[in-house]
Subunit: 433 residues, 2 copies
């Protein structure tokens, strides 16, 4: 028998269903579970794949760069040449367009906004001297992005996401008419949390943007560039620096990447890729901030991954860890929710997340029910600026960390919570609860 | 025959000496030298001592912390417990007073000033909203410190250094009367460039400071805490956090340290040590800036050095590399300049530098002559804010990097340049040049 949408059931039928669901829920609770689906952390089997990173500079290995630089000593502000080459290959840019940083691209993004706030962008007025700074935030999006702009008191404007990327009509309109808008957060490939990849048309419209503010920059966080789940059918993203150059706007974009979700999270190397003008501007500050980042770790990453082929081989092994985790969740969601019309979700071909939309007004309730059953999710609302989801419907599911069995169980519990929450909502809306 | 001070020689005698000196100088020039005494970089033999750092996490070593944290994965904002313990031991503070950062204490200092500029200190007005911010700079001092305050447009006020530390009468007076003064740069042990260590009285007067600005902080860059040249007779520095607490000013100081000049420069771990109130204030920002610093590298440092005893044994080996380098320079300076009254220099018991003071108006000329003879020195003026030495007399000598033979030769050339410059100056002052 095909499932019937909850909204088409009578209140008595819904109440009967809720009775069964509550029994099921109490059974989960009695298991005293401690599961965590909150963050995009790699699993232990995935981490084990990178243990060779610890070996590659051991046994008296020479720590000298190709250009003769001794990586052990001070010096080299913007990264050793072979690290620039590796990340340039990964980002499909020229090594001349790259600065290698420390262990965290999030830190690079923070520092980039902080520098713009204290010193402006290529000679513009420092943002701290302006009465008001605004930012475009495709939603749902990445909570740590929003936390940075929030911290600097920047007003965030929600931009709806579509499977092709942000609503570009709105982006173009707002950018053109308001010079207080200084940037936009983008995760253009396997977006966090939906797993969407921006279409060619979206990328080209970004490259052609004519913002009123000359210090407007696109913050292009290409965190999941090589993070395919299916290497036979990967998403393809147009290279943005190249498109901006072609459109006559070479300075419009900062592209961020790292090896954090390739090797060990927190022990990788991060970078910014951007135009020569932007690089000059950035280095003027960078040389005051540091003598240089960790060159030994740069060398470690290069000696281990070697080149883009080495990275891709490695990422295929990652996919073997990640794909079954996505599949078990998607399978369980289909089994539990298909046909009920109480939730929908994305089925990404890469990245670290699934985006789930419940009925409006149910997300907080679902996450709270999950917590009481021993499963920690990303807080509801986290995918929106200031933690405020106007529909209270989006939930980020992070399948990467838990073992498969835990994920199977957690997804079943999730279906139970979604159904409990939706049935309650429908009954309340009818005045029948 | 005892040497006669240049000023007591007749102009003809000086001219005769200059003829010989020029011959000597041309002989050096003809050797086509490429020597570098500009920066406090460890020598290759010193770097070789730390190669074990590359071994200690190899061979399948478990990368789990004592508290069960997997160092390979995301998490832990302020450092793994054992890294806090190690640096707390080194800094004579409690692990609770420590945040572990990335590879560079300079970067931590930059970020600390940047945060104060954008967000204030423990609730104070952000410095970017103030009409004017000032800073106290003991001189001569560290060029990279001054570069940070200069970058943020902060007015720097010179404070004369003495062998006991900064002129505290002046520090106390200025701090008390001007609430635009927000901080002071200190290298309290084996200071850069003199190698002075602040006396107990100086440390206590710092702890008792009553600055007009409640967001005033002492920036205590304890870069050379364990960097003795003579482990039988090390300088002793009072612990400043403890003194501040005793004086009823627990929040007055930020102490910075790192393992950069213990293991590999640029690949160490840095930290800030400060009061609980300051730590809360800092972490409020830090958790926006990053998910966490490189825990694997923290573990690497801990597994290799183990504890303060391990660090001290290691630093004794460093001293064996560094001491002969200081000695050859000091010996050559004595042989070349004693009794001539044209220069004086410090003879530190630790750290990385010797401070040389020429006759007024000669430092730039000496460094320029050195360069033309193939020896790069730290630029004259670099030890003063904005690169302006009001006496044009201070030169920082960095003996740590070159091999002994090179240092012997470079010091001879240095004596020759000092004598050429001084004799010219005296003759010009007499109108006899």
């Amino acid at each position: 028998m095909a499932p019937i949408p909850y909204a088409e059931l009578s209140s008595d039928e819904l109440k009967a269903i809720r009775k069964e669901l509550k029994k099921e829920y109490r059974a989960y609770q009695s298991q005293d579970l401690r599961l965590d689906m909150s963050r995009g952390k790699p699993s232990l089997d995935q981490l084990d794949l990178s243990m060779g990173l610890m070996q590659v500079l051991a046994d008296g290995e020479d720590l000298t760069c190709e250009d003769g630089t001794d990586c052990r000593n001070y010096g080299v502000l913007d990264g050793i040449p072979e690290a620039k080459e590796l990340l340039a290959e990964m980002g499909e840019v020229s090594p001349d367009e790259v600065i290698i940083y420390g262990n965290s691209s999030l830190n690079v993004m923070y520092d980039t906004i902080s520098r713009s706030y204290t010193h402006g962008v290529m000679g513009s007025t420092p943002w701290c001297k302006l009465p008001h700074v605004k930012w475009l935030c495709p939603v749902p999006g990445y909570d740590r992005h929003f936390a940075i702009t929030e911290y600097f008191g920047i007003e965030m404007i929600n931009i709806p996401m579509t499977p092709n990327g942000p609503d570009m009509d709105l982006v173009e309109k707002l950018c053109a008419e308001d010079d207080a808008i200084k940037g936009i957060w983008c995760v253009p490939k396997y977006s966090n949390p939906q797993g969407y990849t921006y279409s060619d048309e979206t990328v080209r419209r970004f490259a052609r943007l004519e913002p009123a503010a000359r210090d407007f920059r696109i913050y292009w966080d290409n965190a999941y560039n090589v993070h395919h789940l299916d290497f036979d059918h990967p998403d393809i993203l147009l290279e943005i620096l190249d498109e901006c150059r072609k459109a006559g706007h070479p300075d419009l974009v900062y592209k961020f990447m790292s090896t954090s979700k390739i090797g060990f999270p927190g022990s990788g190397i991060a970078c910014i890729c951007t135009s020569p003008n932007n690089l000059v501007d950035i280095k003027r500050q960078l040389r005051v901030q540091t003598i240089g980042h960790d060159k030994v770790n740069q060398l470690r990453n290069v000696r281990y991954f070697k080149n883009i082929d080495g990275i891709m081989e490695h990422m295929k092994l990652h996919a073997q860890c990640l794909r079954p985790r996505f599949e078990i969740i998607e399978k369980t969601l289909h089994e539990g929710l298909d046909g009920l019309d109480i939730g929908e979700w994305t089925e990404p071909k890469g990245g670290y997340f699934i985006s789930f939309n419940s009925m409006n007004g149910c997300a907080k309730d679902i996450v709270s029910r999950m917590k009481k059953a021993g499963v920690v999710m990303t807080p509801a609302g986290a995918t929106y600026p200031n933690g405020k989801d106007p529909h209270d419907s989006n939930i980020r599911i992070a399948p990467s960390f838990p073992p498969l069995d835990d994920l199977a169980l957690a997804s079943k519990i999730f279906c139970c919570c979604v159904k409990l929450s939706a049935s309650k909502k429908i009954l309340m809306d009818r005045g029948d609860y």
